[in-house]
């Protein structure tokens, strides 16, 4: 190393460290509780997501991912087939605009305490760069009230640790990671408690 000044060398090293570490700083999940009352959540149903993107099958994919991850977390989940049959029967095209009475009916039939739904706001896959923006809400089936919502925006790049390690380059992997993190966040906040 033939640096004229030692200070320049130290600055160079510092800069490299700063760049490589910058990818480790993550954007947080925005979760807001809409009621002060805590509900007993023993059984959950996942409704189809309202998809604002061109990826048609993303909604089905996310429903499956939420279902799978919740079952893994030992939460009782209503089988997505039963949810789909119910929505088809009630002629509900967009679960975003479902009224309290129908939610009550859903509770009566499936026993679900809350329903999870939401919107896929943005999804893109350009080469190795993937991006996904989700808005997820939870509604009580007994009152129809919104209990909490989560806004989460992520890029594959956000998971880069050092150099190219850790980066996510597929939409499904990013979605899976995001779903995992959302459920973890809800669990940490104590939203998914069956015993009160």
């Amino acid at each position: 190393m033939n640096f004229k000044n030692k200070k320049v060398f130290h600055r160079f090293i510092f800069l490299i460290l700063l760049i490589s570490l910058s990818s480790c700083f993550r954007k947080g999940i925005i979760t807001k509780e809409l009621t002060s009352k805590r509900l007993k959540v023993c059984k959950i149903a996942v409704f189809p997501f309202y998809n604002l993107t061109k990826y048609e099958k993303l909604s089905d994919m996310l429903v499956q991912m939420f279902t799978i991850d919740m079952v893994r977390e030992s939460i009782e989940v209503v089988e997505p087939g039963l949810v789909k049959n119910f929505l088809f029967r009630e002629r509900i095209l967009n679960p975003l605009y479902i009224n309290a009475e129908i939610l009550k009916k859903f509770k009566y039939e499936t026993g679900a305490d809350i329903v999870i739904g939401g919107q896929i706001i943005k999804a893109s896959q350009v080469g190795d760069n993937v991006k996904l923006v989700l808005l997820i809400w939870a509604r009580s089936t007994s009152t129809g009230d919104f209990i909490w919502y989560t806004f989460y925006r992520r890029e594959g790049e956000d998971y880069r640790k050092v150099f190219h390690f850790g980066k996510i380059s597929s939409l499904s992997a990013l979605a899976q990671r995001m779903v995992e993190e959302i459920i973890k966040d809800w669990k940490n906040r104590g939203f998914l408690k069956c015993e009160m």
Partner: protein, 487 residues
């Protein structure tokens, strides 16, 4: 009776003890990766892997045959009836459903999710997801490249890691009923009117002996089979309110069970919708509202209620319909009327009645009316000039206007621009003004604006008429009152 139940229980125990071995029915996988909608090959690979792990499986090819019989349209969406049929016919205690989210052999990348349900009650017991993209894999020094086969091995290992068979102690499985479709003729009725509900039901196992609806106040209505549907009709309660409808199914023989399913509710409504009309773009007069350009009508429903039909009429003073619009469905939030009739011609000034009729779902109807004054014409001022011996006589006639005039003036100028005469609102209010002995070659300007803003503005030269002696009127032969044959 007790002995009978014991006998049947023992019988079922012996029947089902035979199928007590744990078997998993592997359904064809749903494919979201865009290649195909259904992926059988992948499901077969999963089934083969499970066999190597010592688990008894029913291969997807066999499952498909049963699914065809059950008329399943979409793989991955199953209900309790299908699950129970699989349990009974294929003797499978578990159902494995899978979804492929990403599959690319070239990159390679794979994302698969599986869920295992208990066939007996359609309850999710196990699920896992596997996701891996070759691009995200970086071996040490980049020596080894990962292949699709490597990912597949990793996938199967990961998906079923920790999966344990649960011995199900099922002696018998209860019959299952699923609602496929519910049709309400109407969800809101007048007291005493007929309510009608049609249900499409799906069964697995014996059909219930009794099928009825509890329509509130423990009133039980039997369901009658008509074609593919079960129909029930009854007279609605006389009391206003909301009544729940619950489907009750009873299996007495052998089972002695009863199931209740809430299917919806109906409302008895005898109150007409509460509605109010709000107007925008208007001028409030002493006891009337008036407009000249357009009228914005905003109907406001005071008590939230579903409107099924509406009719808007605009009637003239003689109750002749000028505009009529009628439609089924929700009431629009705003109506606009530009003071024209159905053929788009402006209506003559006057009072018009706006009548809005609305019907709710039960058929109760309400009419609201409001009178509106329409004035689209500006005030009229007539100027007549007569030439008498090189002098001009001007007669100004202010015609009656339907609403008060805000501003009004008449100015007479000569050719050089000197003001000869100016008449203001006070003088013109009399109706008729006569000006005598005015010189020739004059110009005039008339301005009149009413309170709605209709404006009259005329600026011109005065062209006096020369008075001529009246001609003697020719005597006209009177018409014969009776028909004359000589023509």
């Amino acid at each position: 009776m007790r002995l009978k139940i014991l006998f049947f229980t023992i019988c079922y125990f012996f029947i089902f003890i035979k199928i007590g071995f744990t078997q998993i029915a592997v359904f064809p996988f749903e494919d979201f990766s865009g290649n195909e909608e259904v992926n059988i090959k992948f499901a077969e690979k999963v089934a083969s892997y499970l066999v190597t792990q010592g688990i008894k499986v029913i291969y997807p090819q066999e499952v498909i045959k049963e699914l065809i019989k059950l008329r399943i349209k979409r793989i991955g969406v199953i209900d309790r009836v299908v699950a129970r049929e699989i349990f009974l016919k294929l003797k499978a205690q578990y159902i494995l459903l899978g979804s492929i989210y990403e599959l690319d052999k070239e990159v390679p990348s794979l994302c698969v999710g599986i869920r295992i349900l208990k066939a007996k009650n359609c309850k999710l017991v196990w699920s896992k997801i596997f996701s891996f993209c070759g691009k995200d894999y970086h071996s040490i020094l980049g020596i080894k490249k990962i292949t699709y086969e490597d990912i597949l091995k990793k996938c199967f290992k990961d998906l079923f890691a920790g999966f344990k068979e649960e011995r199900i102690n099922v002696m018998y499985s209860f019959p299952v009923l699923e609602i496929e479709d519910v049709i309400f003729k109407t969800k809101s009725v007048k007291p005493g009117n007929t309510m009608e509900v049609a249900l499409k039901l799906k069964f697995s196992g014996p059909k219930p002996e009794k099928l009825m609806l509890n329509v509130g106040d423990n009133k039980l209505i039997p369901l009658l089979k008509t074609g593919a549907y079960y129909i029930a009709f009854w007279r609605a309660d006389l009391k206003e309110g909301k009544y729940p409808i619950i489907l009750i199914s009873k299996w007495n023989k052998n089972w002695n069970i009863q199931k209740k399913i809430f299917i919806g509710s109906y409302t008895v409504d005898n109150t007409p919708p509460q509605i109010k009309l709000e107007f925008w773009g208007i001028k409030k007069l002493a006891n009337m509202i008036a407009f000249n350009r357009y009228l914005e009508i905003r109907p406001k429903i005071l008590k939230k209620e579903k409107i099924t039909r509406w009719k808007l009429e605009i009637l003239s003073k003689k109750n002749k319909v000028v505009v009529m619009e009628e439609q089924l469905g929700d009431l629009p939030s705003t109506f606009f009327w530009r003071g024209v009739d159905n053929s788009d011609k402006p209506v003559p000034p006057g009072i018009y009645k706006i009548r809005l009729s609305v019907w709710d779902e039960a058929g109760n109807f309400k009419v609201v009316e409001k009178n509106v004054l329409v004035v689209k014409k500006p005030p009229e001022i007539e100027l007549k000039a007569l030439k008498i011996d090189n002098k001009i006589k001007i007669i100004i006639n202010v015609k009656k206007h339907i609403i008060p005039i805000r501003e009004m003036r008449v100015e007479i100028w000569d050719n050089k621009g000197n003001l000869i005469k100016k008449l203001d609102k006070k003088e013109l209010k009399k109706g008729k003004v006569v000006l005598d002995n005015l010189p020739l070659n004059l110009n005039y300007e008339i301005v009149a604006i009413d309170i709605l803003g209709n404006k009259l503005f005329v600026k011109d030269k005065i062209n006096p008429q020369v008075l001529k002696k009246k001609k003697k009127e020719e005597k006209k032969t009177p018409k014969a009152k009776e028909w004359v044959h000589e023509f």
